[in-house]
């Protein structure tokens, strides 16, 4: 059974019909990518899954349990956490405080300490800077912090919204490697990307979103080989 299932999702911004019946699923342990042009509705999809937007119609379930009616903070408690577009770390809090906010839903102190240590092994740079105010981190470090912060809630499903945006090529590769690493440790990933090349490289399956509709879906290899995808997203 799929871990995360989205069925016939319709979302409006006022009069604008942003999602027109999205259906997708993510199986346990997978990396699934959602690619598409600017304004296709990728962020809208993730925001709706996270409970920031209310769908007009459609279902969102995690292991069969309905998520669509829950407020955003309860969705996190169920095990679905999002790294939002543009990182959006808490710039005036320290690195350590940012990570603690990621673990906000968790009560056990020891577990939090263990996870803190794990995030610091994943991103040693954050450890060096743990008492630094997060707003003064570089763009790449902020992205590491955003991902680390999300991991602190011990998610079952990690939603990533364009983690490679605005990063230098070396860092882009590093971030994708990190995502693969996190996935290997057992976290299921739904990855939204503009960088279709890299996304399809690390994902098992993918969906192509066009103006609020799923235009194509299939295994990463199928999509990489698809002529339309090559032309529109992989530069020929």
């Amino acid at each position: 059974m799929a871990l995360l299932e989205v069925d016939n999702l319709h979302v409006y911004y006022g009069q604008i019909h942003a999602l027109k019946g999205i259906t997708l699923h993510v199986d346990p342990g997978e990396i699934v990518t959602l690619i598409g042009a600017n304004g296709a509705g990728k962020s809208t999809t993730l925001k709706t899954i996270s409970g920031l937007l209310r769908p007009q119609q459609g279902r969102i379930t995690l292991s069969g349990e309905d998520l669509a009616a829950l407020p955003a903070h309860d969705v996190v408690a169920k095990g679905v956490v999002q790294v939002p577009e543009g990182r959006r770390i808490f710039g005036q809090l320290t690195v350590h405080e940012n990570l603690l906010m990621g673990a906000y839903i968790r009560a056990e102190r020891n577990g939090v300490e263990t996870d803190l240590a794990r995030v610091f092994t994943l991103f040693p740079r954050l450890k060096e800077r743990r008492s630094q105010v997060a707003g003064t981190l570089s763009g790449g470090e902020q992205q590491m912090l955003a991902i680390g912060r999300a991991l602190m809630s011990q998610p079952k499903v990690l939603l990533l919204d364009e983690p490679s945006m605005g990063l230098a090529p070396v860092l882009v590769e590093q971030i994708f490697e990190t995502i693969t690493g996190i996935n290997r440790l057992g976290t299921t990933v739904l990855l939204v990307e503009q960088n279709a090349y890299m996304a399809l490289h690390i994902a098992q399956r993918g969906y192509v979103l066009q103006t609020g509709e799923i235009a194509l879906s299939g295994s990463a290899a199928e999509l990489q080989a698809n002529a339309e995808v090559r032309k529109a997203y992989l530069g020929g």
Binding site: L52, H73, Q82, R88, F90, G91, L93, M101, G102, S153
Partner: protein, 362 residues
């Protein structure tokens, strides 16, 4: 093409860029500065006031400023999270002081008031804080929460409505007269601190404020909930993505601010020894001024702004106005306070410590 226009604009001299409004504002600054300098100089040279008088004014200023600072915290914390001015906050302060009056009178009648002063003060404080918190939470639930997504002006109008509602509800319940607070015998007269005589009530106000401020600062900076509060004030949406229940944090923010205001109400009543349904209005606006002065949304700023305003209000009249030959300068202390509000809003809207806020909000 565009580059040449920009270059031409830069090449125009400062003289050409000066507008009438700039001239007026510079004139305004110069006039205020001149008045302050001349007045201060004249007062000091006249030697009309002895050192002891200055000290009294100074200490009064600090204790008054403490009360402003405690109230200002509520304005600033709520603004920090909701970007909204809670105009009913002054009346929440009044509710605290008013219920404390009933608690104090009851204790007085029972003869406990002067037998156990610290215990009585503690009871009064708890009653005042609890009432202030309840009223604030009610206002938040009824008048603000339903309007969370409305344009910014709407909750502001609702806040003014809530303010009038509270004032006239209290007036309807308890009448429009002044009610005299019982006095603590132990707090009459002065204490001698390092050779300086300090009015006991004012010393109590200052000490209590320092304790409350420290607790509050530790709460905001060191606890999980305090950190969540700062996170919510920075980015509400992402805070909810971290699993933080934003509504709950907002409620806690209102509660903490109201508790501080309730405590301020008791301290205010200790000094002025009376309560009235309209007593929240001026301290409310003054505290708002203090919050703006310190940089609204900034907690240390509110503390500093309150202290600054209290000092300025108490020392300013005799220091500046007296030297300018104004009779009964103390009557004009409100003029000083509100001149400061206007000047801060014109010349430095981000306040003393509000640098980091200026770019991000507004």
């Amino acid at each position: 093409m565009a580059a040449t226009i920009v270059a031409a604009r830069i090449r125009r001299s400062w003289f050409q860029r000066l507008s009438v409004i700039d001239l007026f504002l510079w004139g305004f600054r110069a006039a205020v500065l001149a008045a302050v300098v001349v007045g201060t100089f004249a007062t000091l040279r006249s030697g009309r006031y002895a050192g002891e008088v200055w000290l009294d004014f100074l200490i009064f200023g600090i204790s008054q400023g403490s009360v402003y600072a405690l109230i200002a915290l509520g304005y600033t914390m709520v603004y920090g999270i909701l970007r909204m001015i809670n105009f009913a906050h002054g009346d929440i302060f009044m509710c605290g002081a008013y219920t404390a009056f009933y608690a104090a009178t009851a204790l007085h009648r029972a003869g406990l008031f002067n037998r156990y002063p610290p215990l009585s003060l503690a009871v009064i404080l708890v009653v005042a804080m609890a009432t202030a918190v309840s009223v604030a939470l009610l206002v938040e639930r009824v008048a603000y929460r339903p309007l969370r997504r409305a344009p910014r002006l709407v909750p502001l109008i609702s806040a003014i409505g809530a303010s009038f509602f509270i004032e006239y509800a209290v007036r309807g319940l308890y009448g429009s007269g002044f009610q005299a607070y019982p006095e603590f015998e132990v707090f009459k007269g002065k204490w001698n601190v390092f050779g300086v005589g300090i009015l006991r009530t004012q010393a109590v106000v200052i000490v209590a404020t320092v304790i409350l401020m420290t607790l509050l600062y530790l709460f905001v900076m060191r606890t999980r909930t305090g950190t969540a509060m700062r996170a919510v004030s920075e980015d509400m949406e992402v805070a909810s993505l971290m699993g933080i229940n934003v509504d709950r944090i907002i409620v806690i923010t209102f509660a903490v601010g109201a508790a501080a205001a309730g405590a301020a109400g008791v301290l205010y009543a200790l000094v002025f020894k009376q309560v009235h349904f309209f007593m929240g209005f001026y301290p409310g606006i003054k505290a708002f001024t203090a919050a703006v002065l310190g940089g609204i949304g900034n907690i240390p700023g509110a503390m500093l702004g309150g202290l600054f305003l209290g000092l300025f209000e108490s020392v300013g009249p005799i220091l500046v106005l007296d030297g300018l030959g104004i009779v009964a300068p103390y009557q004009l202390k409100d003029v000083i306070a509100f001149t400061m509000l206007v000047m801060v809003l014109i010349f430095r809207p981000s306040g003393i410590l509000g640098e980091r806020l200026a770019g991000k909000k507004a």
